[in-house]
């Protein structure tokens, strides 16, 4: 009975189990992980959609609400994908729970896939709900729905990787929050969520093109309202290249056990 070692081994079961666990982790504290970001986004929608938005127009033919909603959706996707991998992996390192996983036959590939997929599910779920709420404020033309979904998935994948990287490098909660407060937040705000980069004076506009988030935000908005500062190809090309780079970086660290195995 004991130690028979005869139990059948299902090679992909570790992955599905880890994925299920990661989803349950954020679902159990849904007030924090789903509800809070939705309330935040709803407040933005209210301010920019129902109040200020009626007095502003940044692109001809669209209300300000229609302009800002795609940005708020992608902001929700980005923040929550990042928050999921970064907090889950960091807490697990911080409290030592990671050890329980490191002794199991979970492969590095399964490890990254499960963490990434759970983060994408949370990010895209928040994005979808923000979009549903936004319909109360303004309708969207959905110029290229498939490309919009592709951009949202790229954004969530990219920030899931960034979350893994941040969680591996962070030594304490302060460092971890620095990633979101001093890297992601400024990049989102300066990346054109609230204004089109094209209205900026020349030096600032040129600088915006070095902000990788500009391509994610602009590409996603372009796909939804049909107007953008860059082409689909450039927006997707830059975002996908960055996503692939961060994936290779995260995969290398997890494969090596960098800062995970002593």
């Amino acid at each position: 009975m004991m130690g028979s070692g005869l139990d059948r081994f299902y090679p992909w079961l570790p992955f599905w189990t880890l994925l299920r666990k990661e989803i349950r982790r954020f679902w159990r504290v849904a007030t924090q992980t789903i509800l809070t970001p939705i309330v935040t986004a709803s407040l933005y929608l209210f301010v920019f959609g129902a109040t200020l938005g009626t007095r502003l127009s940044v692109i001809e033919g669209f209300s300000y609400a229609q302009f800002v909603i795609p940005g708020l959706i992608i902001m929700g996707v980005i923040n929550n994908s990042f928050a999921n991998t970064s907090s889950s992996l960091f807490m697990s390192r911080y409290l030592g729970g990671i050890v329980e996983l490191l002794v199991t036959p979970v492969t590095p590939t399964q490890f990254i896939m499960a963490y990434t997929l759970a983060a994408m599910i949370r990010g895209l779920l928040v994005g979808t709900i923000v979009w549903l709420i936004s319909t109360l404020f303004a309708g969207l033309p959905w110029a290229s729905p498939l490309f919009a979904i592709l951009m949202a998935m790229t954004a969530s994948f990219l920030f899931a990787q960034f979350g893994l990287i941040a969680a591996i490098y962070a030594n304490n909660f302060d460092t971890l929050s620095m990633f979101s407060n001093f890297v992601i937040l400024p990049l989102i705000y300066l990346g054109g969520v609230f204004y089109p980069v094209s209205i900026l004076p020349a030096p600032w506009r040129a600088l915006s093109y070095f902000n990788p988030l500009f391509y994610l935000i602009d590409g996603f908005r372009h796909a939804i309202i049909g107007v953008g500062d860059t082409s689909y190809l450039v927006a997707f090309g830059v975002s996908a290249t960055l996503a692939a780079t961060l994936f290779v970086w995260a995969a290398w660290m997890i494969g090596k056990g960098y800062r995970l195995r002593s």
Binding site: P11, P14, V29, V103, V106
Partner: protein, 332 residues
């Protein structure tokens, strides 16, 4: 005397299992070959080698900082190998890590829990991580044997230290490992629970699970382990069958109560490290293995010392341990 002398390299090819049956060492449960590990330029494991036969209860002992936990961490994959080789049941733990990890179960020294889940949920998840489908009957058996039934729906944060420890043992066995590694499983656990845990460990060993354990309670190691390895400063300084180790290295103490107190130690007894206590009325003499008490008594009678009472005390693993690790300390 060099401490190296205490390491016995040869082992008998046959061992007895828990039922007293002989079995062969054809494939060891664990083989460690010339294992090294350094942290920040300091070598904490210095080329140790040993094997554990299938069905054995093997004790890895040593003072704090000896390198036991580092060795265990390298076996289970929490620490990277510095140099050397580890194989479990014939599989290399680097190349075939998925195979070796399926066959190992480990209870770490530090209590690690995931506060998000209840005992039941965590055990199901752990089975999945090992690629084994949940077996409700097996899970129920472990829960019952470790007395976790009343706490199944509690979130782990609310469990006591002893319960968390029991939960960790149940969890380590959920995928039916062939080798169970227990790193200080009874640290901070009360006496009653400790006995319960060791009974359980003996039981699963009888059913075929090989055990590797570290403990600070030497008396337990002496009672539990078929063989014992002692580590100190990252080196293996002893590796023998437990009884043999204790027998060969332990000594008895002869306590002689005297009719007349002595003012000073009698001459000619230096070999026995004599000591006077109780204001000269108690003479303590060490009796090394191989020396007959009768010969010593005859010698004392020749000194015309009148004895009113005799007591002997047998030293155990504790003394052997201090003797060995102390020696190592002096020779270092």
């Amino acid at each position: 005397m060099s401490s190296v002398l205490f390491v016995k390299s040869g082992r008998s090819p046959l061992l007895r299992d828990g039922w007293g049956r002989l079995y062969s060492r054809a494939m060891d449960a664990l083989t460690i070959d010339n294992l090294h590990k350094s942290y920040d330029g300091k070598e904490v494991v210095k080329g140790i080698s040993f094997s554990i036969g299938q069905g054995e209860i093997f004790g890895l002992l040593g003072p704090n900082g000896a390198g036991k936990s580092t060795t265990i961490n390298m076996i289970v994959g929490v620490a990277k190998l510095g140099a050397g080789q580890i194989s479990a049941f014939g599989y290399d733990n680097q190349r075939d890590y998925r195979k070796t990890r399926q066959m190992l179960g480990v209870v770490h020294q530090e209590i690690v829990i995931d506060n998000f889940f209840t005992i039941d949920q965590a055990m199901k998840l752990h089975s999945g991580y090992y690629g084994v489908k949940d077996d409700p009957a097996w899970r129920a058996m472990l829960i019952q044997r470790l007395g976790l039934e009343p706490y199944l729906d509690k979130v782990m944060l609310k469990l006591s230290g002893g319960l968390k420890r029991r939960f960790m043992i149940a969890k380590a066995l959920i995928h039916r490992p062939k080798l169970l590694i227990l790193d200080e499983p009874t640290a901070g656990v009360d006496v009653e629970l400790r006995h319960g845990l060791w009974d359980f460990v003996r039981e699963i060993n009888r059913q075929g699970t090989t055990i590797l354990l570290t403990t600070h309670y030497l008396e337990e190691a002496e009672q539990m382990c078929d063989r014992i390895a002692i580590m100190n400063h990252g080196e293996l300084i002893a590796l023998e069958e437990t009884q043999e180790l204790v027998r060969r290295l332990s000594s008895r103490q002869l306590r002689l109560w005297l009719e007349q107190p002595l003012a000073e130690l009698p001459a000619g007894l230096d070999f026995y490290a004599p000591k006077l206590e109780e204001e000269g009325r108690l003479l303590l003499l060490n009796l090394p293995a191989g020396v007959r008490a009768g010969d010593l008594l005859a010698q004392i009678c020749g000194l015309e010392i009148k004895i009113s009472d005799i007591e002997t005390e047998q030293s155990g693993l504790e003394e052997v341990f201090i003797q060995l690790t102390g020696m190592q300390g002096m020779s270092a």
